[in-house]
């Protein structure tokens, strides 16, 4: 037994070393960097150790809390809509007995398009007085806002673009879950006189829980780190009204080249994601996630 254990360790060591090098080391290095003042543009200031100063600067800045709030709004709105839309889509596709593969492929299409392209297309639809959306709204007698110059209205195209792209992904995850459900349960329910609604709430949804959980965690973590859709569509604007935390990190780190401060923001994003994922697993059930994933 001891020998076997030793062999096991020996065999996993290379993999563990690789993980340590590409995952653990960068995290610790970033954490270490975040404790320094390090601005690539001001080499005359050196790279002094400043303790928690970068974190203090972050949490005392209005822009940081704005970015956190925008991230939360974006995450809540897109995840809710995507889970609801994905569930409906999965239930519909599940009804097709023939041509399901074809439908499934068709449903996946938006997800297969690169995000940058999706973002540009949606921006084009909403932008300028000549855009399609504005054209339709005008014809309906409404006066559309200048979408990307309005701090509230700007969320509509942003959220729509993300929902349009990511709902299919959720749908496919849920579809796999649906197909794992034993059909005889529905038969039994029908014999007992349960209608469609009752079957949905008593059989489908409880048994779909693991798949819903996986979709929820994937989408939430993804949405929390959202960058590309917003970068392309609004650049975080108008002003900083849609700037998510990832975009703030990007602009601090790569545009302003403030390595220390940017590292502190990265660490905050990492810690929040980590806590969120851990909480999801704890609250929603570790077993569900680990064992019953389709």
């Amino acid at each position: 037994m001891r020998n076997e254990a030793r062999l096991g360790w020996a065999l996993t060591l290379p993999a563990l070393a690789a993980i340590a090098m590409v995952a653990v080391f960068p995290i610790f290095w970033t954490a270490w960097e975040s404790l320094h003042f390090h601005d690539l543009r001001m080499p005359w200031l050196g790279r002094p150790f400043v303790g928690m100063a970068n974190y203090v600067e972050a949490v005392s800045s209005e822009r940081f809390w704005g970015a956190m709030a925008h991230t939360a709004v974006f995450t809540a709105a897109t995840v809710t809509l995507e889970l609801a839309g994905g569930l409906v889509l999965a239930l519909i596709v599940d009804r097709f007995s023939r041509g399901r593969d074809l439908v499934r492929t068709a449903v996946l299409l938006p997800w297969a398009i690169p995000t940058v392209v999706v973002a540009l297309v949606w921006r084009f639809l909403f932008e300028s007085p000549a855009g399609i959306v504005n054209g339709v709204l005008l014809r309906l007698g409404m006066s559309p806002p200048t979408w990307f110059a309005d701090a509230t209205a700007v969320w509509v195209p942003l959220i729509l673009a993300d929902v349009w792209k990511m709902t299919p992904f959720v749908a496919v995850l849920l579809l796999a879950g649906l197909q794992n459900i034993d059909r005889s349960l529905y038969e039994a329910a029908r014999i007992d006189g349960a209608g469609w609604g009752r079957q949905l709430t008593d059989i489908t949804l409880p048994l779909l829980r693991p798949a819903l959980l996986v979709a929820f965690i994937f989408r939430s973590l993804d949405a929390f780190r959202v960058f590309d859709v917003i970068y392309v569509m609004t650049g975080g604007g108008p002003g900083t009204a849609t700037e998510p935390i990832a975009l703030l990190t990007f602009s601090s780190l790569l545009q302003n080249l403030r390595f220390g401060f940017g590292a502190a923001l990265s660490v905050i994003v990492f810690v929040v994601s980590f806590i969120f994922a851990a909480a999801c697993i704890r609250v929603l059930g570790r077993d569900a996630l680990m064992e019953r994933v389709p």
């Binding site: 990307f148 110059a149 604007g237 108008p238 002003g239 900083t240 545009q255």
Partner: protein
């Protein structure tokens, strides 16, 4: 140089070889100086540059110049430069910089002090030289100039506006009487272009961003008036369409080019394109003027353009300066004006027939605008100041903040930044 590199890397085994090779090189004295030139190299710019580098090498057979193409977008190019120079790479030797970067690179010690070369600074527009000074020394020379201009429709009015009030009147008149959808269009997206437009309104009302001592004076009444004017042109007078809040140079040009606007604020590059009747509906029906002034200020144009600097770690400074000096000779500048349409930084050329033939805008006209050009703040942290300002401006123009509150907030963030990096006047003792 090579020997040092080898030692540092610990390649002891090849060291003798390297020493031997470099000894041969020095002994024979025939290895040419190799210079690397980094800059924008697309389209007609690349064409002009290649020609000039070829001629330079013909004149100086002992110098070979390699062209290293860099991204055309100035912020991406800037990012790349920072990485190279921060690593103390000896190449590229000669750099094309955006004019706002000179002080940043000079303060970082990345580019060479030009004082040793006794450059003929008096031959260039004073504003373009001032923008390249840091701590009293010169660090780069201007290569070509960009200035903000007001394009106006000659078929809708008889003369350009005398001041901002007049411009707003004429714009409203064109919209109401001539059915032009937009009175005025400018760059209103949240990016550097918005700062240059604001700078012109700011100057028009007599405001500044930094005063002579480098203190932030963005919260002045003049600045509030300037920003309020910009906002009200959109929200109250409705002569500027809200769509400009996402527009950069090209979208603005398209609107004007399609005959949708009576006025446009843009750079000189648009002139030639607007004259092209195959794509422009306003060809032959427009002219340029300075951006107008307002109460308490003067007509102001934002100064842009590129400068040439030398890497502080360049192995061959003399040759590098020789190349810069060559590229800035009148005949090279005239060729660039002809091929690329860029404005030379030497005022004397504006008297010549050659420039009149090369440029689409009459040199006298262009010179009057250039002489009103105002540089953006000369400070190593310009890009960060600009970002703070961009956000404040865009928030105000999209009605998320009032002009005074936005500018006061921006001013205090800017001052805090300058204090923190040791660049405010009180601390500044370099």
């Amino acid at each position: 140089m090579m020997v040092n590199a080898a030692k540092r890397s610990g390649w002891m085994e090849i060291l003798p070889l390297v020493v031997a090779l470099s000894a041969i090189g020095c002994g024979v004295g025939q290895d040419p100086h190799v210079l690397t030139f980094a800059g924008s190299a697309v389209g007609s710019e690349a064409e002009a540059l290649r020609r000039q580098l070829d001629r330079f090498q013909a004149v100086h057979p002992s110098i070979r110049v390699e062209l290293r193409a860099t991204p055309d977008a100035s912020d991406q190019r800037h990012q790349l430069y920072v990485q190279w120079l921060n690593a103390q790479a000896p190449d590229p030797d000669v750099l094309q910089l955006d004019v706002v970067s000179t002080s940043e690179f000079a303060a970082a010690g990345w580019i060479l002090n030009f004082d040793q070369f006794h450059a003929p600074t008096a031959d260039f527009f004073p504003a373009t030289i001032a923008a390249n000074r840091w701590n009293g020394s010169l660090y780069a020379l201007p290569w070509f100039i960009d200035v903000g201009m007001l394009y106006w429709r000659t078929d809708l009015m008889a003369h350009p506006p005398v001041d901002i009030d007049d411009l707003e009147r004429l714009a409203a008149h064109a919209r109401d009487e001539h059915g032009v959808p937009y009175g005025l269009v400018w760059q209103g997206a949240r990016y550097e272009g918005l700062v240059t437009v604001f700078l012109e309104y700011l100057g028009a009302f007599g405001g500044r961003i930094l005063d002579e001592e480098g203190r932030v004076v963005l919260d002045s009444n003049a600045a509030v008036t300037a920003l309020t004017t910009m906002r009200d042109e959109i929200a109250v007078d409705r002569i500027v369409p809200p769509a400009v809040l996402t527009w950069q140079e090209e979208q603005v040009r398209f609107a004007f080019q399609n005959g949708q606007a009576a006025f446009m604020r843009n750079w000189p590059y648009a002139y030639g394109l607007l004259m092209d009747a195959s794509q422009s509906r306003v060809a032959g029906r427009f002219a340029v003027a300075s951006m107008p002034g307002g109460a308490g200020g003067a007509p102001t144009s934002a100064l842009g353009g590129s400068v040439l600097a030398i890497n502080a770690h360049s192995g061959d400074r003399e040759a590098a300066y020789l190349l810069i000096d060559y590229l800035l000779q009148p005949e090279q500048l005239l060729e660039r004006a002809r091929l690329v349409g860029q404005y030379p930084p030497r005022p004397s050329l504006y008297e010549t027939q050659a420039l009149a033939e090369a440029l689409t805008i009459a040199p006298g006209e262009a010179r009057r605008i250039i002489e009103r050009a105002v540089a953006r703040p000369v400070t190593p942290v310009y890009t960060e100041l600009s970002e703070i300002l961009q956000i404040a401006l865009h928030r105000t123009l999209t009605n998320q903040q009032e002009p005074r509150a936005a500018l006061e907030g921006a001013a205090s963030s800017m001052q805090a930044l300058l204090d923190k990096v040791g660049l405010s006047p009180a601390v500044h003792e370099k």
